[in-house]
Amino acid sequence: MNKEYQVTAGTEVHCELKSNTKMFSDSYNNYGTFANTNINEIDFAYPGTLPTVNAYAVELALKAALALNCKINKKMHFDRKNYFYPDLPKGYQITQARSPIGVDGYLEIEVDGVIKKIGIHDIHIEEDTCKSTHYKDKSFLDFNRNGVPLIEIVSEPDLKSDKETVAYLEKLRETLLYLDVSDCKIEEGSMRCDVNVSVSKTEKLGTRTETKNVGSISSAGMVVMAEAKRQVEELERGREIREETRRYDEKTNQTILMRVKEVGNDYRYFPEPDIPFLVLEDDYIEKVKENLEILPDERRKLYLEKGISLVNANKLIQNKQLSDFLLGMEDIDLVIASNLLLGDISAYLNKTEKNLEDTKLTKERFSDLVEKLSKKEITNKVFKDILVELMETDLTVQKIIESKGIETISDESSLREIVNHIIEENSESVQDYKSGRDRAIKYLMGQIMKETKGSANPSLVNQLLIEELSKR
């Protein structure tokens, strides 16, 4: 692409909130149920019905606003956005135009080692519309989605590349997932991204286009590239960029015109008279803030401090159930702990198609296990042998080992006997040791473990080996 042009992108992201009921009525918010079963007279906009406000959904939105470093509108109200469309039963959408719950926030992203703050213009609460499907000349409406609580997160035009766009969206998704605010599934529509792109040769931003409902986060990056390329080509041909709505075609990697934006699209916004001002008390905001989940950045920082590799740290963060499992166990050996969780335990969970919380593994028994491994009281092999029992019974590590007949030989005299026996059988290794070759110890160690079927206490064996070798 022509290097004279600077690409600028911004995003508008809609996320469905994970509340039990809808934003303005008490029918269920439940994805995947039979069409038109989660509805009542309010969702259907029967004459005379009025909205109520879902306090839990407001709390989820507040969590998101706080995590995105927004200023909170402590006295907020809702507005009506008026337009006609079959998926909008009231003929207006209840949203927040003038006093969004959060404004002026930011999200930190890292691209190629550079940390950058991406501005959040605002985050506001609104209600979802019906899902409409079209078949031949018919349209079908599913009101289950109508009234589902949404937050819309509008970024500033701070994204200067496809990489930044992808990093921002990934970070946003990761954050919202951690807050348990939304399940952020783009394929199910619980997260929807619109990407605004403009190009300019000067400081002044160019005219932007909006590409709607991008199918994945990586596609959002492609949209930025493809749309910037198209706009530059247009400009180089001496044409102007119009404000328009486009969609992205993954097959051709091109954006396609949907409609040119009408001048002054008129939604006749006015304050929703059926909902009084909502006041968020300081105490309430403070309480929500205190109870916010520990966010990925903070967790990553801790993991790295504790010696976990960046790769493993990121793997843990991507698997929130594992990362959550480690909360409150910061004092154990996190390197061993993360290896166990990402290795054999993950393999077990995959194989059995279970979530960690569905197993019988408790934090107490897990830290006991890590403790024993780090003190070399048991070997990795023993751990592998007892894994299934650990996940499927309530027995302590010690009890499992005993019940399986795996005995850790920690008895010094019997171990010393085995050590001496092995040394005698491997006289050449004794020579090697004496001439200073360290691998002799490792070899002998291996032989002892073989002899004891891995049940000897490794640190004790090590100690005894050195004692006995030095006697010779």
Partner: protein
């Protein structure tokens, strides 16, 4: 024919308790009276079979409250489950709700019996009930005259003594003005007193349901059973339970009353001014202090009302699109065509006029120029009233500028209909309670009413003054009644 319905509610209650009469006697009498007064066109839909059935059921239920078994009429913009609710519009001609409004639930809880749904201006938009798709109701005092509106059917059926109780709704005077034209008692309570859940919205920030009755005591009695915070309506206000009849019969000596100068200006006809001045004289004679005051911007209230009410209405009525309920045009060519034709054919002229003006008022910069500005001035009116209530217990004036006029007068003048409500609209703007109490007749024996305005949540005090006046004047308020003239 029996005449139980001419008795007071307390007397009827005694008879019911003694089992001297049964609820069905009252219901049958009410339907006989409806039949007798068919020409008044008070009702759009009758609930006859269900009402008779309900009355029979009540024979085995203990008479547990004063309202038990009493027939009541409901304005047709209040949602009644399984009972057609038309809003006097072709748009909802065949619409049968699947849920009860909160007030309807309350009425059912008291074992009152719903007789039918009353005629009104289409979607409550009008001041004469002439915008009804089902032809206007007629004034029982003179069948050539309007009932006023929009709660015209409710007013007429109380005035004609068809039923003792009716519900109306008041957005810009729609309870009080027809109450005045028909010589009955009508109360618009404080905004938030009564749940609006199930009241088909016209202007959400102004709408309020209220009781319409033959006399003051029975009005307070009905209000007792309608009020209360409702989880379905976030604009309803939690208040401690109170008995609105508690101050009735108390002396008014020492009461301080304000009369806004605007209410006695030349916008009011002479016969009404004279009658009002007589009342002021009487009140002073009986020991009340009456002083003349000014309320800021009160003369702008109608303009503000038009902006706010039409703006909100344009949005509230967007849901009538032919997709889910109500009228739907046949064989539309597209979705756009469905909307356009459904709304063109389903709404009447006045409703369409208000939707168009309202949409214009909220468009683009107009929202800031008009709607937001109107909200600000509205707040100033509210503050000015509040200030007056620091000094005065109540504010009074005439309810209307003229008595009820002919059904064919000014029929095509859209502005006139707002001017009928010039004295009652400021109360809606301020969210205050206001009521009409009859104070006499003009030379043609058409009723004249007085408007009593209270501070927020001071309905009981209003009833105190209203009942005092009622007792002092002891008017015969039965149209064509034996003692008439």
């Amino acid at each position: 024919m029996s005449k139980y319905l001419d008795k007071s509610i307390v007397e009827i209650n005694e008879l019911l308790k003694k089992k001297a009469i049964r609820p069905i006697d009252l219901v049958e009498e009410a339907f006989a009276r409806i039949e007798e007064n068919k020409d008044l066109n008070c009702f759009i839909t009758l609930n006859k079979e269900e009402a008779l059935e309900e009355a029979k059921k009540l024979e085995n239920v203990e008479v547990d409250n004063l309202l038990f078994g009493i027939p009541i009429a409901i304005k047709d913009n209040i949602s009644t489950k399984d009972l057609r609710t038309t809003c006097a519009s072709k748009m909802l001609e065949n619409y049968v709700p699947i849920y009860d409004a909160t007030v309807v639930q309350k009425i059912k809880d008291k074992h009152m019996i719903m007789i039918g749904k009353t005629n009104m201006d289409e979607f409550a938009m009008g001041s004469t009930s002439r915008t009804s798709y089902f032809d206007p109701p007629k004034n029982p005092w003179n069948r050539e005259k309007i009932t006023g509106g929009s709660s015209g059917g409710s007013a007429a059926c109380i005035s004609a003594r068809i039923v003792p109780f009716a519900l109306g709704s008041d957005t810009g005077g729609s309870i009080r003005q027809p109450a005045s034209y028909t010589g009955i008692v009508g109360m618009k309570p404080t905004y938030g007193r009564i749940s609006r859940y199930g009241l088909v919205a016209f202007a959400s920030s102004l709408d309020q349901i209220g009781p319409m009755t033959r006399n003051v005591y029975e009005n307070a009695l009905l209000l007792n059973s309608l009020v209360g915070r409702d989880a379905h309506d976030l604009t309803s206000v939690p208040r401690e339970e109170e008995d609105f009849t508690r101050l009735i019969g108390k002396d008014i000596r020492g009461m301080k009353i304000g009369v806004p100068n605007y209410f006695l200006s030349d916008i009011v006809s002479k016969e009404i001014l004279d009658q009002t001045n007589e009342m002021i004289h009487l009140l002073r004679e009986k020991g009340a202090t009456v002083e003349f005051i000014d309320i800021d911007y009160i003369e702008n209230a109608v303009t503000l009302y038009q902006i706010i009410a039409m703006g909100e209405a344009s949005s509230n009525l967007a849901r009538f699109d032919g997709v889910r309920f109500g009228y739907s045009t046949e064989n539309p060519e597209s979705v756009e065509d469905l909307y356009r034709k459904t709304r063109k054919e389903g709404f009447g002229k006045e409703v369409k006029r208000r939707i168009m003006v309202g949409s214009y008022l909220l468009s683009g910069d107009n929202a800031v120029t008009y709607y937001n500005k109107a909200l600000q001035i509205r707040d100033d009116i509210r503050k000015s009233f509040q200030k007056a209530f620091e000094t005065y217990d109540l504010i009074i004036g005439p309810t209307t500028t003229t008595v009820a006029y002919n059904l064919d007068q000014d029929i095509d003048d859209p502005i006139k209909s707002f001017l009928d409500d010039v004295l009652v609209i400021p109360v809606n703007m301020a969210g205050l309670p206001g009521m009409n109490v009859p104070i006499g007749f003009n030379k043609d024996h058409m009723p004249i009413g007085m408007h009593i305005i209270g501070n927020s949540f001071e309905e009981a005090k209003m009833y105190q003054l209203a009942s005092f006046i009622e007792k002092e004047l002891d008017l015969n308020l039965v149209p064509g009644g034996d003692a008439c003239e």
